[in-house]
């Protein structure tokens, strides 16, 4: 009986010690976020305004632009022309829990999107967006897809409560208005971004996105009820940890999250170049309307 009590007391004592250690560690890390298992605790340099500096050129290395969920390598839509050029790589899901929680009745449209991802028909204004992956047509990709396109982007953290994010793909641009109350007066392809700081994390609320964007080439989609909240947290001098919570009650049974690191591009004198892809799509979109005898 006594041994048990001693054992219990020792256990209790150890528990207290562990708790104290954890609390102390947490206290020491109060100026840094809870460390990701892969990253040692890190606190980014701060700007004079007291917030971390996220400026720089960043890029994702995940294959989410092909498919957010687990995917095997596969040939593209026209292997007889494209061969290995057109094939997509394998990749692991960046969705927390692995799967996107679709409403069962909403899955059919995803499959339909995927089947028709390379079909376009712009002959009827009202059906302009009915077919085809918007990326194929060089349309602005929306958020969060712009973050994991295989192109770099640059965060320009202004000193006037404005953060500009410039994406190489299609010269897409976002203005993140810090601590801004107003709603968007109109829908936009890149949405309406309002940011705030939570400790070391930049949190961006994105509303008012055009419903026509897709999340990936697999046909994952949303409606005009889409609401996205992003979190950018410095994880090392060379990494930002990116997280986005996505909700759309029309399509999904609950909000869901994606998460992956962003890598700082380290080449000396690197700059965003142009990927103004409109001219690459014009033949695809407009070629059928050419004068028959010309050229």
């Amino acid at each position: 009986m006594r041994d048990t009590t001693i054992a219990m007391r020792r256990q209790a004592f150890l528990s207290i010690l562990v708790t104290l250690a954890v609390v102390t560690a947490a206290g020491q890390q109060r100026t840094a976020p809870a460390a990701d298992a892969q990253f040692p605790a890190y606190r980014a340099p701060h700007r004079p305004d007291g917030h971390p500096d996220l400026s720089g050129i960043w890029q994702a290395l995940v294959t989410a632009n092909w498919d957010l969920q687990d995917h095997e390598a596969q040939s593209g839509d026209h292997p007889e022309v494209m061969g290995a050029y057109g094939a997509g790589p394998a990749g692991q899901s960046i969705v927390e829990g692995g799967e996107i929680p679709y409403r069962p009745e909403a899955l059919a449209k995803k499959r339909d999107n995927f089947a028709k991802r390379m079909q376009v028909d712009v002959s009827d204004d009202k059906k302009w967006h009915a077919l085809g992956d918007p990326e194929l047509k060089c349309y602005l990709p929306g958020v969060p897809r712009a973050t994991y396109m295989p192109f770099p982007f640059q965060i320009v953290q202004g000193s006037n409560s404005t953060i500009l994010i410039a994406y190489e793909f299609a010269s897409a641009t976002r203005i993140v208005r810090m601590d801004w109350k107003q709603e968007s007066p109109a829908d936009a392809w890149m949405g309406w971004s309002r940011g705030r700081w939570e400790g070391e994390t930049l949190v961006v609320d994105v509303s008012g996105q055009r419903e026509e964007t897709w999340f990936d080439r697999a046909g994952d989609y949303h409606t005009d009820k889409l609401h996205v909240v992003e979190r950018y947290t410095p994880a090392s001098p060379y990494h930002l940890m990116y997280e986005a919570t996505i909700e759309d009650p029309n399509v999904f049974t609950r909000p869901w999250k994606i998460r992956f690191p962003l890598y700082r591009r380290m080449e000396a004198n690197l700059q965003l170049l142009e990927f103004k892809c409109v001219p690459f799509t014009e033949e695809l979109l407009y070629g059928a309307f050419r004068k028959p005898t010309a050229r």
Binding site: Q154, S171, N269, P279
Partner: protein
């Protein structure tokens, strides 16, 4: 004598404008010292608007006058507002079709001439006009003729294909390509700065020019871009930007100057809390007989306003309308 009177009056106008804290640009005194960013660069940040009705070139009808009087300016603006907003049915249907592109479409701020009341945006040469062209090589003349033919087909409603349309109509570039010129709408620019960079994001079409000010060299000559490659440096409180590496497609450079010999330098100077001078100098010895410079005032917009997204290609239905209209009329044998 008359010129001197005008100059004195112009200065009086400018002084009055300062006294009444009207946005001042052009002849502003050097007294204003812009605030600095936390890292010490002059702070140009904010959303600016460059709409104006002052023409790029001085019209022949002002008798060489460089600056309007107060009275002349007020009358010009009133007449302009009237012309653009009155109901006009004269001119026949051809003219009337285009009048649907009317005042409701346009930035209301473009009814105003610049605060310094100049009669042209061009300040050098002194006559306020683009210098004469150098005789063009046969190749360039041919290229010009081909472009003119394509434009004529487009204007007639009979484009062969999308390539008969201009880069702005195709939504490739618009007013985001330097030099920045005022246009009928969406004349907004947002400037965001961070250490080592000044970024200018025009509203139309949303491309951000991220300008390093850290002294790094330009891209190598082989890398060409639609908006060129910009490098900036501070000259006192003025941001001086030089842009090179333009692509050689038709229409990339203003007035189809020659990208191989074209040079552009822009200067951004904040002259008041809510006013910025934008000045550009362009030269191309194979296009113009001399360099020329224009000065365009930018005014800070109402803080309650914002710059909005201008997506262009995404819903550019008109391209199809132009083409299907042409095809239909060709089939029915119409030539107008």
């Amino acid at each position: 004598m008359r010129d001197r009177v005008i100059r004195v009056m112009a200065l009086a106008v400018v002084s009055m404008a300062i006294a009444f804290a009207v946005p001042v640009a052009g002849q502003a005194p050097k007294k204003y010292s812009p605030p600095r960013t936390p890292w010490g660069d002059p702070d140009l940040q904010g959303v600016w608007n460059d709409a104006t009705s002052t023409p790029l070139q001085r019209p022949g009808t002002v008798g060489g006058k460089e600056v309007l009087t107060d009275e002349e300016a007020a009358e010009f603006q009133a007449a302009l507002a009237h012309d653009l907003t009155r109901d006009r049915r004269d001119g026949g249907p051809e003219v009337d079709v285009n009048r649907a592109y009317n005042d409701h479409w346009m930035d209301a701020r473009r009814l105003k001439i610049t605060a310094d009341r100049r009669t042209s945006l061009i300040v050098d040469p002194a006559d306020g006009r683009i210098p004469p062209l150098v005789p063009l090589s046969p190749e360039r003349q041919q290229a010009r003729a081909a472009r003119a033919a394509a434009a004529a087909r487009f204007q007639a409603g009979l484009p062969n294909d999308h390539l008969d349309m201009s880069l702005p109509v195709r939504c490739v570039i618009r007013t985001d390509s330097p030099p920045y010129l005022p246009t009928i709408y969406n004349n907004d620019f947002q400037i965001v700065q961070s250490p080592g960079f000044v970024t200018i994001a025009p509203e139309m079409i949303h491309s951000a020019r991220i300008i390093p000010v850290d002294g790094r060299p330009h891209l190598n000559k082989g890398l060409k871009q639609w908006l060129g490659d910009s490098r900036g440096r501070w000259d006192g409180t003025t941001l001086v930007v030089e842009t090179t590496n333009f692509r050689s497609d038709d229409g990339v450079i203003f007035q189809n100057a020659n990208p191989a010999t074209f040079k552009i330098t822009e200067r951004f100077t904040r002259v008041a809390a809510d006013a910025l001078n934008y000045e550009f100098t362009v030269e191309d010895p194979t296009t113009w007989t001399k360099a020329w410079t224009a000065l365009i005032p930018w005014n800070k917009i109402d803080p309650a306003e914002q710059m909005y997204e201008y997506a262009c290609h995404e819903d550019n239905f008109d391209i199809i309308h132009f083409l299907t209209g042409a095809r239909k009329r060709e089939r029915s044998g119409e030539r107008r």
